[in-house]
């Protein structure tokens, strides 16, 4: 509690523990999900196994994303440092919004794809989800296209997100990376840097 109390009350320097846990768990889950998604369309041997994982994992990501969104809106989040140019801050906010949208949207789309094609969404054993949309071949085709294209978009955004995060961690060293990597307790020794609200 020694460091810069005024900054802490206005805007924390770190994401809360819930946000950090969700971020890193979902980072692993979503990356795995994207690789499973493309591999199950190409692999000769692994499709049945991969599609059995793809469905429950997708629904798990959807549930976690909803918890994460609730946490995001109910808890204060760190502001970006003042050193970040305005255009970068705007781009970061837009892309983060898009990330949340895709985290929720892709599993829902996948569920709808299966429904439109009259495929059950099987979570485990006999436990399957009800159809989200009626069976319809035209709907299936469009939803399937969107599901695939948006998955590639999500992968591209994640690569950008990763690149930017590593730039903050290794080149800029401005506390943006550590706001998601660590809690406040690890930060006592470090002096606070100036920050400004960006939104």
């Amino acid at each position: 509690m020694q460091d810069v109390p005024t900054t802490r009350t206005r805007s924390p320097r770190h994401f809360n523990l819930t946000a950090r846990l969700l971020h890193w768990a979902m980072a692993i889950a979503i990356m795995a999900m994207l690789f499973i998604g493309v591999a199950m369309m190409s692999s000769l041997a692994l499709r049945p196994v991969l599609i059995d994982v793809h469905q429950p994992l997708g629904i798990a990501i959807l549930c976690l994303a909803l918890v994460r969104l609730a946490n995001r809106f109910c808890r204060p989040v760190p502001a970006l440092p003042a050193s970040i140019p305005r255009w970068q801050a705007v781009a970061a906010h837009l892309l983060h919004g898009l990330l949340y949208l895709l985290m929720v949207g892709l599993p829902v789309l996948g569920w709808a794809v299966r429904s439109a094609g009259n495929w059950p969404v099987i979570l485990l054993g006999d436990w399957s989800l009800p159809a989200l949309v009626p069976e319809n071949p035209v709907l299936y085709a469009w939803l399937r296209l969107a599901h695939g294209a948006l998955a590639w978009l999500l992968f591209a955004i994640i690569l950008g997100h990763l690149g930017a995060a590593l730039m903050h961690a290794w080149v800029l060293r401005d506390g943006v990376f550590s706001s998601m990597a660590r809690g406040a307790s690890d930060e006592r020794a470090k002096a606070g840097s100036g920050s400004r609200p960006t939104s």
Binding site: M41, S42, P48, G117, D126, M167, V171
Partner: protein
């Protein structure tokens, strides 16, 4: 320097993603099997077995398999069935005498919302032990452009690598040609595992045994046959009376090859008649019914599990590409004949 490391990390991830998708690396993927038919094919038609006819009917369970598997289909008295008869040629307009291969595809929807999809062939087994063997066989038997015959050296090299394929090739040369969809026995070819309530795992293959006696087509009859004789025949038969098959489970014994579709099990293995399929109506495939169904054999109800047969796993992805491609063509309005519309260009 750190910037280069970051670029390398991001680049490596992008590359591995492209590899997983089969876009780089040149490995054999499920797309390899479809070749350019994904882009260049009559829009809306299945990329394999394009000429077919939808059927509807009912599967009446005998209850005899209920002790072997917890799948609802084996206990429910009447399960609605929808399916498709097709011929083995890829061309959706091929004459029926262009191939000796006929198929039955089937979707059984039980009242617990479970689905059982299958695709059965009159061939008794798969030529090769794995899916890559199918590509190798197709490549080896491609006619040489100068002689019009397959290159014996390539065929020899193929049999060296896939010796098990000899019996399928010999069988094909002598097997009787079907004269009716109703008389053919349709075999699942790949093995599955029946899961009983007490946890017993029983490896199984099954086939549809026709009630109608088999009459082969002589070469003379074949030469005289009309273009759609199989389709005309099944329409006529079903209009007169339901056409039936017994669903016969063949139970493997310990030591039988479960994961090799080129190795049939001995004929004396125990058989269980799980029920009877009754086909009560047929309909043009363009009117729907079965048109938009992917008869993916890996969609089985709980109570049935997949074996580790590599051909079974490969079929799932291959079917999926064909299905996505033709439904996309229908959605984009590119399909005309396949959905029963006049071409408007």
């Amino acid at each position: 320097m750190p910037v280069l490391v970051i670029a390398a990390i991001v680049g490596a991830l992008a590359l591995s993603f492209a590899w997983a998708a089969g876009l780089v690396g040149g490995r054999t993927t499920t797309r390899t099997f479809l070749g350019d038919s994904l882009q260049h094919f009559e829009p809306g038609y299945r990329r394999a077995h394009g000429k077919g006819i939808c059927f509807a009917g009912v599967f009446r369970s005998s209850n005899a398999a209920a002790s072997l598997s917890t799948a609802r289909v084996f206990a429910q008295d009447e399960v609605p069935a929808i399916g498709r008869f097709s011929i083995g040629s890829a061309d959706p307009h091929a004459p029926d005498a262009s191939t000796a291969t006929v198929s039955m595809a089937l979707l059984l929807s039980a009242d617990d919302r479970s689905q059982w999809r299958m695709k059965l062939n009159n061939a008794p087994y798969f030529p090769t032990r794995d899916a890559e063997g199918f590509l190798a066989q197709r490549h080896a038997f491609e006619p040489d452009p100068t002689t019009g015959q397959p290159d014996p050296a390539r065929v020899g090299a193929f049999f060296e690598k896939y010796p098990e394929a000899r019996k399928a090739v010999e069988y094909k040369a002598t097997a009787p040609w079907p004269s009716s969809f109703a008389q053919a026995q349709y075999n699942v070819i790949n093995a599955f595992i029946l899961l009983a309530a007490d946890g017993t795992r029983q490896p199984v293959r099954w086939f549809m045994r026709p009630h109608a006696p088999f009459h082969g087509l002589s070469p003379e009859e074949r030469a005289r046959s009309s273009r759609d004789f199989l389709f005309d025949d099944i329409k006529k038969r079903v209009a007169q009376a339901p056409v039936r098959w017994d669903l016969v489970l063949q139970l493997a014994q310990a030591g039988d090859p479960v994961d090799d579709p080129s190795q049939p099990w001995p004929a004396e293995r125990q058989q269980v008649v799980a029920g009877t399929l009754e086909v009560t109506s047929v309909r043009d495939q363009r009117e729907g019914g079965c048109r938009d169904i992917n008869f993916d054999p890996t969609l089985v109800p709980s109570g049935i599990a997949l074996s580790n047969d590599p051909v079974l796993a490969a079929r799932a992805g291959i079917y999926s590409h064909s299905y996505n491609a033709r439904l996309r063509e229908i959605a984009f309005g590119r399909a005309t004949d396949a959905i029963g519309q006049q071409e408007h260009k």
